[in-house]
């Protein structure tokens, strides 16, 4: 017989206590695993949604001349015709090391155009990319299909008195208003969006771009890394991460993480308390038994080994069951509650971490009862001898 045999025999005898201890750790670990899994899935889901929500990288020509403002971004070269990006630059973005993180590349050419006697800012875009990038666009009419279809911003349509289906002359070319954007409250309201190639030809800037907006999925890499890789590919361009978008995403994820951590810590503390009180009561119940161990020559370390081995066995079981329970809960219930589109992943590493966590909590909470047990005076414990 080994000391571990004494521990296991005791656990077998005290089934109720063992179930209670295991349950305490099971609930703690299952909660942590559920919170962690959901948070991870929510992180992935949030990142995906946030990344899809808009551009988080803007590429402009390297220049100190500020001629035009688009949103909060200064665009050089529109008025003074300094230098533009090229179509090849947009293609080069898809050749960076982290190209799989690039969700959308939306190149643009900006220029002032005479529209039926009025000066309006004309933006040449790749419509499929642009519409994918700007999920908030609500088009009244239809999406542009042909090279001569345009979209009008809400204010531009008002100013020009145009609606979807109307014809519009930009320069010497006639276009069709495919749709009008509902009021957004940004500069988009004042713009006319046309097909990139058509606008390039119209402005006499074939193959040239004013800026490129990029939507990067950054769940697996920091945005700074993507910015650095694009800068390397496009040495003549200025690549900027939109800190506001990045920070908003980071803040959301951080809040989720903090919430999950807080709940996990509270539940684990409760689990630890359950283990501590149960082990303490177990030690108190076994005072005489521990006295016998000490009387027949067990060292303090032997008594501690018996108590801690019990904690190890129960913690391992609680951790394993907690992982399975937590994963089942997060896989079956949480996606429905949280309406996640990203599934929860069964990660064996999380299982190992759950067991290690349970052992850490279980054994950590058992150290004090074990020390108390080992310090029992055998004569006091037995009293009768």
């Amino acid at each position: 017989m080994r000391l571990s045999g004494i521990s296991l025999n005791n656990l077998r005898r005290r089934k109720g206590k063992m179930v209670f201890l295991t349950l305490g750790l099971f609930i703690g670990v299952a909660t942590v695993v559920t919170m962690f899994s959901i948070t991870q899935a929510m992180k992935a889901d949030t990142e995906r949604k946030l990344d899809q929500y808009g551009a988080n990288i803007v590429i402009t020509p390297k220049s100190n001349d500020l001629a035009l403002v688009y949103g909060d971004i200064a665009i050089p070269g529109v008025t003074y015709d300094v230098k533009e990006l090229k179509q090849e630059d947009a293609d080069a973005i898809l050749t960076i090391k982290n190209k799989e993180n690039i969700a959308t590349v939306a190149p643009k050419l900006l220029g002032a155009a005479d529209v039926e006697g009025k000066q309006v800012l004309l933006v040449g875009v790749n419509f499929p990319s642009e519409i994918r990038l700007k999920r908030w666009w609500d088009i009244q009419g239809r999406e542009p299909e042909g090279p001569n279809d345009v979209l009008l911003g809400h204010l531009a349509a008002e100013k020009l008195r145009k609606s979807s289906g109307d014809s519009i002359n930009i320069g010497e070319t006639e276009y069709t208003v495919a749709g009008v954007l509902k009021e957004i409250g940004s500069q988009d309201d004042s713009l006319i969006y046309g097909d990139l190639r058509t606008v390039q030809r119209n402005l006499g800037k074939e193959g040239k771009l004013s800026l490129i907006e990029v939507s990067a999925l950054c769940s697996t890499c920091p945005i700074e890394e993507i910015v650095s890789q694009i800068t390397e590919k496009l040495p003549g361009a200025k690549v900027s991460a939109l800190r506001q978008a990045v920070m908003a995403r980071e803040q959301t994820i951080e809040q989720l993480g903090n919430f999950s951590l807080a709940v996990s810590v509270v539940v684990l503390l409760i689990g630890a308390l359950i283990v501590l009180t149960t082990m303490m009561s177990s030690v108190n119940e076994r005072t005489r038994e521990i006295g016998i161990f000490r009387a027949i020559g067990f060292r303090k370390s032997h008594v501690m080994t018996i108590i801690l081995f019990e904690a190890l066995a129960v913690s391992s079981l609680g951790g394993l069951l907690g992982w399975i329970g937590g994963m089942l809960a997060s896989s079956l219930i949480a996606p429905r509650l949280a309406q996640l589109t990203v599934g929860v992943q069964w990660d064996p590493l999380l299982g190992i971490a759950a067991i290690v966590l349970a052992i850490f909590v279980g054994m950590g909470s058992s150290v004090y009862p074990a020390v108390r047990a080992s310090n029992l005076d055998p004569a006091e414990a037995l009293r009768s001898i």
């Binding site: 017989m1 016998i292 027949i296 020559g297 037995l382 001898i385």
Partner: protein, 228 residues
């Protein structure tokens, strides 16, 4: 030279701040192979003396030498090793571990040795054979009679062949017939060379001892028991 040499043992407890002397200047010399019965009324100090002789209760003053070892000069952990090597205990109420079978209870002192499981089992079966209980090795304590539990407790005390066996009221919880069986077993072990020190208040047990030591009010009054 005596196997056990106790000199001037005094034990004082503090009860609610009031010092109470449980044992007063007790000296005792026990040779190897002796069977000592410590007798006296309840509260006389005999159990205190036994716990001091059992290396579990440091005296307030005095010295205990066992086989040239000054027991209370050892550290707490070394005293645990000493108990393991030199002493076997039969406790009052027998104190078997309820979730361990007879053979597991018997091999309990071997659990902290490096002996293999087979070696431990062989030794435990040998000890159970000596007390005539090998056929009930697999039974749990609550599946054994009082006398059988007493014999398991004795098997546990002798399994690693200590030179000294200490017993505290070993027949206290047994009926007279099973008490008699246990005492016969003690006698037989003593005849095999085991030094036995037994606390009892039952005068019927005294004749089994080679020497009776009377204790009253913490003071030792030595006497001689009749051999049966």
């Amino acid at each position: 030279m005596a196997l056990i040499e106790a000199t001037g043992l005094t034990k004082q407890y503090n009860t609610n701040g009031v010092p109470v002397e449980a044992l007063r200047n007790a000296s005792l010399s026990i040779d190897a192979g002796e069977f000592i019965a410590l007798m006296g009324p309840s509260g006389s100090g005999k159990s205190t003396l036994l716990s001091i002789l059992g290396a579990m209760n440091p005296p307030t003053s005095g010295k205990l030498i066992v086989d040239t070892i000054s027991v209370y000069d050892l550290t707490v952990e070394m005293r645990a090793d000493f108990r393991h090597e030199y002493l076997g205990f039969v406790f009052q109420q027998l104190q078997l571990i309820p979730y361990l079978s007879a053979v597991e209870n018997t091999m309990l002192p071997l659990a902290i040795t490096r002996r293999s499981h087979k070696e431990q089992t062989d030794m435990a079966i040998w000890a159970l054979e000596r007390v005539g209980l090998a056929d009930k090795a697999a039974r749990l304590p609550d599946q054994l009679s009082g006398g059988e539990q007493g014999r398991v407790a004795i098997a546990r005390a002798i399994v690693n062949e200590p030179p000294i066996l200490l017993a505290d009221e070993p027949t206290g919880s047994l009926d007279s017939r099973t008490g008699q069986e246990v005492m016969d077993l003690f006698k037989s072990l003593n005849e095999g060379g085991l030094t036995l020190i037994m606390v009892t208040h039952n005068p019927e047990n005294a004749p089994f001892a080679s020497r009776v030591v009377q204790i009253r009010d913490g003071c030792m009054i030595e006497g001689v028991g009749a051999l049966r």
